[in-house]
Amino acid sequence: MDFLFDYISVNTFWTILFIIHALLAVALLGALTHQAAAVLTPPRTGDTGGFVRRFRSVSAPSYTAVVCLLWVLAFIFGGWIYAKYRIYVRIPIEQEGFYKTLGAFELKEHLSSIGLGLLPFYWYLWKNAGNTTYASARKWLTIVLAAICWYSFLSGHIVNNVRGFGL
């Protein structure tokens, strides 16, 4: 990996990794929100047109594999940059006394980890999307994962606003 630093600075390298992490998170957020909307408020018969109807009229099972893949990739990149965050981002934030920001971010790390552990069952439930005995668990687990994803996205965004990489 050191050969990269002949071409880009260390700060640029970590900023690129962070941007990849953020882009993966955006894609994950979109996919999970579509899927959660589809299971929470499926389109009614006779419901015609409109942005909201089209937003929730997606084929929810088709999002499952990409949600799992994006969660894992975003998690790997997040875990990679986390070590740098611990030294170069968190310590300055501590010195500034923004403890609630740090707490919100700590909660993100916990929730996204728990979400990662739930992915195999989430995948299993959607793989058997035709099994109606799984419908309730499938619906609520998808909503919980979407809520975790939204929280993680927003708290990560706030920390990046307070102090991102490359400063």
């Binding site: 909660l107 728990i114 069952f121 439930l125 058997n128 005995t133 919980v144």
Partner: protein, 122 residues
């Protein structure tokens, strides 16, 4: 992706049981590892040093990180427990409520918020 209408499966398959129990146990064990300081290893990012188990930050070597170790501890524990659960007879496997998969994280949320009480200062 199997989207056929099949409502005849009353219980989870062994693999389904593994995934359900893994998700539940991982969440619980993660919170236990966090609150009881039980990482499988400690990473010191300043020096790239790794210590087995819990190790405090070393003087002049920057902070210690436990998150990676919590993930390892809880993954290992959850894999063992869910492997055992997958071996249970179908009758018993069928009694595990599927709703635990989403109820457990929701119940753990206030515990996690409480565990971060240090940060909620004004």
């Amino acid at each position: 992706m199997n989207t056929t209408t099949d409502t005849t499966i009353p219980t989870l398959s062994p693999w389904g049981t593994f995934t359900l129990v893994f998700g539940i146990c991982f969440a619980i064990l993660y919170v236990v590892c966090d609150m009881a300081a039980l990482p499988l290893f400690t990473y010191h990012p300043g020096t790239d040093r790794i210590d087995l188990g819990y190790a405090p930050a070393r003087r002049d070597e920057g902070p210690a990180m436990y998150w990676y170790g919590w993930l390892a501890s809880s993954s290992l524990g959850a894999a063992i427990l869910s492997g055992l659960a997958a071996l249970l007879p179908g009758k018993i496997r069928g009694k595990i409520p599927l709703a635990l998969a989403w109820v457990v994280p929701v119940v753990l949320l206030p515990v996690l918020v409480y565990s971060l009480m240090f940060y909620w200062r004004w």
